[in-house]
């Protein structure tokens, strides 16, 4: 990819926080930085992180693979993450997830909408079991959700996206 000038500055700031011979420690913030722009990491991004930290590309891939919040496939602008773990499932999150997928025009396991705006994904625990069905859209939380609320939120985000000229 090649870092943009701003990213290069931020990267240097990140690297400064760690000893020069312990650059590996900076891998998570560096990956966040690499993912900031388009919400996912392509091979060039990963190579750039490996080179910046002087570690093997394979090593960076394994770290990405361990954390669900790093993505190697293209995703939508808005990540809709629904917890369907046991406590949430007991409050109907599983069914909610299926209905959500249906409403977004996606298959039963989620995925990305055709306009590349939304990605719906099942996740494990977002720490709001008592208010399930709950969902995280990028950095925002939505709790005790109903289908109607979803439509509202989605419409809002669509409007926001088109206002921004997306």
């Amino acid at each position: 990819m090649g870092w943009t000038e701003k990213e290069q500055q931020d990267l240097e700031k990140i690297l400064k926080k760690y000893p020069a011979d312990r650059k590996l420690s900076a891998v998570l913030p560096a990956l966040y930085l690499a993912q900031r722009e388009k919400n996912w990491l392509d091979d060039d991004d990963i190579e750039a992180v490996a080179e910046a930290l002087g570690i093997e590309t394979t090593h960076v891939h394994s770290i990405i693979g361990f954390y669900t919040l790093f993505r190697k496939e293209p995703v939508g602008k808005y990540m809709m993450e629904v917890c369907t773990d046991l406590p949430c499932a007991l409050r109907g999150a599983e069914d909610f997830f299926k209905r959500l997928c249906e409403r977004m025009g996606l298959g039963p396991k989620g995925g990305t909408t055709e306009d590349n705006l939304f990605t719906v994904e099942e996740v494990v625990c977002i720490a709001a079991c008592d208010k399930a069905p709950c969902m995280q859209i990028n950095l925002e939380f939505f709790e005790s959700l109903t289908d109607e609320q979803i439509d509202e939120v989605v419409a809002g985000l669509r409007a926001q996206a088109s206002n921004n000229g997306a």
């Binding site: 394979t58 394994s62 693979g65």
Partner: protein, 888 residues
């Protein structure tokens, strides 16, 4: 307080050193706790959970701080509420461990196996690991008979996924023990494997380019406790129990790795490492593992050939040998014995070489013999005789307190297993490694000190280090005074090699030189390693010898000098006196010295030549012309090489898998190998051929076996006294042999041998004082303009033996000039462009490849590649020279 602790495992008491892991303590009383991820050579991780045991400790009364006792006065043992992993838990005094005596632990292990097997395919009947599979064996011993898991939930992964050219992954068989990942990280220092994802979706990946790019990749298939990793070479090659396992030695470099030939129906099916903790531990490199296909090649010579006009026609041994006898006899009587000569490659065994020199010296009557052609001519070494590493040296155990100085050897390419051991000493055990070289090499990343000197200044660097040792007052006075002579003269000579001057010649700082000298001199143990790229320079060798002697780093284990000689038996060739001026055992010749190989390969040098296991015709055009002018040329070979095509008589020799013999490795360890497969056609062992030729010339030798030749060597060469095959093949400690393969033993049964090192002069207290030698280094060549072209030898080169191994063919480079990015920019070229490289009127054209490991000012063009462009520029015996590079 004692450093031992006593614990009880399944009712048996055992005393072990503090810090021992439970699994290791149990091993000592033959209680085999099942493991998958645990491997004695790697750090424990406890990730497979197979070794769960119940652990209890003596209860301590909190009030009194004393052990609690029960009604009978026995200490109360309090068990931890959960099972613990025996591979990560260290022992403590009074600990009680229940392995088989605890129903809970037995159940736990059964459950772990049931989990591991949820997605494991039941394809043992077609799996390469079947029959030597820890998972198979441990399931039978500890596992449940059936599975309660839902077949629909089985995880599916690709079945034949190529991790790289050489290694195939069957992810469904993998149990995520990470032994392969950890091997690459902790032992090979090549972290190109990793686990991606987690939980049930975890799988092994490599994103290196090319895939799984490591010289050590084959070892991951050995440590894999299931059939997940297999080599492309052996996949479906044979069943483990059908093979005969023959102890052998690798013949590709001077390390002398112990191997085992897995043979079946007269062919080699696979090569695996054979444990020898003093040489290769449990590892071999991929060249050794996959480079064996020359043995069974259809292109092998199978019968003697005699020249009839332009043609080489088949002949019997009788015809061929009597023709040689007749011709050599005629040349000798017409022109004298010195009109004959012999060149023997350093791939031959000690027995071959001994008989070879005896044939020339005793029967023909000339000292015209040499082994120094090709790479063997690029590095000589006589320092081993005086200051070679002490008997008992073990690079696999040295650590803190040891300084290793490596000069001009790219260990990862020249001697891969030595690289593992030196890098391991540095990273894992805290030895101080100083890597001195003219360019960046892989070892740089694993060491504390890197010295980048100008090519051609290695001797000056060595003298600078020595001068610095003297000026810093770090000479080991007492030892040097009692064991060496000539210190005063040496000190005088060193006046010209003060840090300032040496810094200028080498391009290093005075501080760096002083610090390196101090680190080496002050270390408890000091080892010097030097290799091809330091240059074939007597001044360097004298300086290194004096450095070892002056610092007292000689004459004892883990101290001394190692020359990284290029071939399997380069050391043996020197030991056996395959030199025009030296007899076996480093004795100078009594009468006139003979001609060197280069002299014999000069037109008019000799009239008749016997060349065994060497191919000078490809090395240089001038050698070829000299060969054409010979009256009579005999070539003894595995293949019809370019040299053999020019011969009057070609004799088919046996490969090393087809016969027995001994090699001496670069640490002077003499080791034997056995015969594994039959030879093609009518090939003979080289010593037998030499004996046959000698017979035609009137000798009445009665050698019947390599063993018999060695028996004579032990009598005639004092260094080899006691090295008869009976001693060399003596199996070593039974404990290691029976250690079960689920830990770090071998999955097959074969002899384990340690070999015998011969002792250096420095090790003998009764030897006369060793003179400290000083040789003035040659004047540095005038500062020519241009890049330094370096022609290193790569592990995978264009050698004839490797050419037969299809599996590694993709790794053999096409000739290309590797440049740093900045030099490429200066020349205005990028990868793929072609350039003209010229020197003294010789010019070649090659494509450029920009390689980030190449330092500025240096251009790499590996030697021994197709067309041999590098040799055209640096000469057949050279390693580097200054060249002009232009865009073409």
């Amino acid at each position: 307080m004692s450093d031992n602790v006593t614990l009880t495992i399944d009712g048996v008491q055992v005393t072990v050193p503090k810090g021992t892991l439970i699994v290791e303590a149990a091993k000592q009383i033959e209680n085999e706790i099942p493991v998958f991820c645990y491997h004695g050579k790697m750090d424990p991780v406890g990730m497979c959970r197979m070794c769960l045991v119940e652990v209890g400790q003596p209860a301590i009364d909190r009030g009194t701080g004393k052990p609690e006792l029960d009604e009978d006065g026995n200490p109360v043992v309090r068990f931890f509420p959960k099972p613990m992993t025996a591979c990560t838990t260290t022992v403590s005094e009074g600990m009680v461990v229940k392995v088989d005596t605890s129903e809970a632990a037995v159940d736990d292990r059964k459950a772990v196996l049931e989990f591991l097997l949820t997605s494991h395919p039941l394809d043992c009947p077609v799996c390469d690991k079947g029959g030597e599979c820890p998972l198979q064996d441990l399931t039978i011993r500890h596992g449940p008979g059936n599975s309660r898991f839902d077949y629909e939930d089985k995880q599916h992964f690709p079945k034949r996924y190529p991790l790289g050219d050489l290694i195939v992954l069957d992810m469904e068989r993998c149990i995520i023990c990470a032994r392969c990942v950890r091997f690459q990280q902790e032992i090979a220092f090549d972290p190109v494997l990793a686990i991606e994802n987690r939980g049930r979706r975890a799988h092994i990946v490599s994103y290196s380019k090319p895939g799984f790019d490591s010289h050590y990749s084959g070892n991951t298939t050995d440590v894999c406790p299931v059939g997940a990793l297999t080599t492309r070479d052996f996949r479906f090659g044979a069943r483990a129990w059908e093979m005969t396992n023959v102890p052998s030695l690798c013949n590709h470099c001077g390390v002398g790795c112990n191997t085992v030939l897995g043979t079946r129906a007269g062919t080699i099916r696979r090569i695996m490492p054979r444990q020898n903790e003093a040489v290769n531990e449990l590892w071999i490199c991929d060249k050794g593992r996959f480079g064996h296909h020359f043995n069974g090649s259809p292109d092998r010579l199978t019968t003697p050939l005699i020249r009839k006009g332009e043609e080489l026609v088949e002949a019997t041994w009788d015809e061929a040998l009597s023709l040689i006898g007749e011709k050599f006899g005629a040349i000798k009587s017409a022109n004298g014995a010195d009109s004959l000569g012999g060149i023997a490659g350093a791939r031959l065994t000690n027995e071959d070489l001994y008989v070879f020199q005896k044939l020339f010296r005793e029967i023909i009557g000339t000292n015209n013999i040499d082994h120094r052609v090709g790479l063997s001519a690029a590095l000589e070494d006589e320092t081993a005789f005086t200051v070679g590493v002490g008997v008992g040296t073990d690079l696999g155990s040295v650590g803190k307190g040891t300084t290793i100085l490596n000069i001009g050897a790219d260990l990862d390419q020249d001697a891969p297993i030595l690289y593992l051991r030196v890098a391991g000493a540095s990273v894992k055990r805290g030895a101080h490694v100083i890597n001195a070289g003219g360019r960046r090499t892989k070892l740089d990343a694993q060491v504390q000190t890197t010295l980048r000197y100008n090519y051609g200044s290695a001797a000056r660097l060595a003298l600078g280090l020595l001068a610095s040792v003297v000026s810093q007052g770090l000479v080991a006075k007492e030892w040097a005074d009692s064991r060496t002579s000539g210190m005063a003269d040496l000190e005088k000579a060193l006046k010209n090699f003060g840090a300032d001057k040496v810094a200028e010649a080498t391009g290093l700082t005075t501080n760096a030189i002083d610090a390196a000298a101090k680190a080496f001199a002050e270390a408890e143990n000091g080892i010097i390693i030097f290799g091809l790229e330091a240059g074939n320079d007597p001044a360097l060798r004298a300086a290194l010898e004096a450095l070892a002697l002056a610092t007292g780093h000689a004459g004892k284990p883990n101290n001394g000098v190692i020359a990284v000689l290029p071939h399997a038996n380069s050391r043996g060739a020197i030991d056996m006196g395959i030199l025009p001026d030296r007899l076996p055992g480093y004795k100078p010749v009594e009468s006139n010295a003979g001609l060197s190989a280069v002299e014999m390969l000069t037109a008019g040098g000799v009239k008749g030549l016997l060349i065994a296991a060497a191919d000078p015709a490809v090395e240089s055009e001038s050698y070829k012309q000299a060969l054409q002018q010979l009256d009579f040329l005999v070539v003894q070979e595995l293949f019809l090489t370019e040299t053999a095509q020019m011969a009057d008589v070609v004799l088919p020799a046996k490969g090393n898998a087809e016969r027995d013999g001994s090699y001496t490795n670069l640490e002077r360890r003499v080791q034997t190998f056995d015969m594994g497969v039959p030879a093609p056609g009518k090939a003979w062992a080289d010593w037998l051929i030499f004996t046959g030729i000698a017979g035609q010339l009137g000798a009445d030798w009665a050698y019947a076996s390599a063993d018999g030749v060695m028996a004579e060597i032990t009598q005639r060469v004092p260094l080899y006294a006691g090295m008869d095959f009976k001693n060399l093949t003596a199996p070593i400690s039974l404990q290691r042999k029976t250690e079960h393969y689920i830990y770090e033993g071998m999955s097959f049964t074969t002899d384990i041998r340690e070999g015998i090192q011969w002792a250096t002069v420095a090790e003998s207290d009764s030897a006369p004082k060793i003179p400290l030698r000083f040789i003035e280094p040659a004047k540095a060549s005038s500062q020519e303009q241009g890049l330094t072209l370096v022609a290193p030898r790569m592990l995978y080169d264009g050698g004839r033996l490797l050419a037969e191994a299809d599996v590694v063919n993709a790794h053999i480079l096409e000739p290309q000039l590797m440049l740093s990015r900045s030099d490429a920019q200066k020349l205005g070229v990028s990868t793929g462009d072609s350039v003209t490289v010229s020197q003294n009127g010789t010019a070649i054209t090659v494509p450029v490849y920009i390689e980030r490991t190449v330092s500025e000012g240096v251009a790499l063009l590996p030697r021994n590649l197709a067309g041999r462009p590098a040799e055209k520029l640096v000469g057949p015996n050279g390693l580097y020279s200054t060249v002009k590079v232009e865009k073409s």
